[in-house]
């Protein structure tokens, strides 16, 4: 079953906001990789805020894709923030330990303030 994600990139001060639309599953890998590469290619992307949709379905396959992205960001010393998660998925991300590598914020505004 084909699944399509879409993404938009936006620069907010020194933070590159990467808005990913759609559910986050193993099938999201090509789009998420492309989105990160575009964000990274912008050159000054040392701070990246990943914004999900609050009603997005996220499963362990999607989290594995995100972990692969974190592997790249760690290597490049990039600061990563995540926002747009429902309360349930904030809990899941904390359980898995993603909060050790990325700040998890309630809103884009909170994230931009914390990351600046």
């Amino acid at each position: 079953m084909e699944q399509t994600n879409q993404f938009q990139l936006k620069q907010q001060n020194d933070v590159t906001v990467l808005h990913i639309q759609g559910d986050i599953t193993a099938q999201s890998e090509p789009v998420i990789n492309e989105a990160y590469k575009k964000a990274d290619d912008q050159g000054a992307a040392q701070k990246i805020l990943v914004q999900f949709e609050e009603d997005a379905y996220i499963n362990s396959g999607g989290i594995a894709v995100l972990i692969q992205i974190l592997a790249h960001t760690q290597k490049k010393n990039q600061q990563i923030g995540i926002t747009g998660l429902s309360d349930h998925f904030k809990k899941i991300f904390n359980m898995v330990g993603i909060s050790k590598f990325a700040g998890i914020y309630n809103t884009v505004e909170d994230a931009l303030e914390a990351m600046s």
Partner: protein
């Protein structure tokens, strides 16, 4: 033709899914709706949905090895004190159930990034039995207790052997 979503009785619903990624959403929503009838809280319903999703994905990818002709059968039972879901595949069982995950090793690429589903199930439900065999396959059985209004909770009376108590 056997119905693919079957109301067995007023307390039992069965869902028979094709072995295709994405179809676990049907089991998720079905279990959520049924659990809502039973009065499970909104937060616990979200836990249930994720646990059912992960159990189905594990059944599809590992139990059924991605075979398109295989099926995943989910059975849900609304008890007085708990909500039980079993997810059956056509495989031989789960050889290793991780009790913990080490995200630092995964981010450092010292181990694969996947393998989170079984761990999440243990975190989200009250009891899980990962390796029950059945005719023609293998079953994961999950239990979520209905929240009790007073303490102590009588839900702990029913204990079955060889199960893993959830971390909640």
């Amino acid at each position: 033709m056997k119905e693919k979503i079957r109301i067995v009785d007023e307390r039992t619903v069965e869902v028979d899914l094709p072995n295709m990624n994405g179809y676990e959403r049907i089991a998720m929503e079905c279990s959520a709706s049924f659990a809502k009838i039973g009065g499970l809280s909104k937060e616990r319903i979200e836990d249930l949905k994720t646990a059912v999703s992960e159990a189905c994905l594990n059944a599809m990818e590992h139990g059924n090895k991605g075979r398109p002709e295989a099926r995943v059968v989910i059975s849900m039972h609304l008890g007085d004190k708990d909500f039980r879901v079993s997810v059956k595949d056509e495989g031989n069982g789960i050889p290793h159930v991780p009790q913990n995950i080490d995200i630092r090793r995964k981010v450092a690429k010292l181990e694969p990034p996947n393998g989170l589903g079984l761990y999440l199930i243990q975190q989200l439900v009250d009891r899980v039995d990962f390796n029950e065999k059945t005719d023609g396959g293998h079953v994961v059985k999950m239990v979520l207790k209905m929240e009790c209004q007073t303490a102590p909770c009588p839900c702990d009376e029913d204990q079955t052997p060889t199960v893993i108590e959830g971390k909640r």
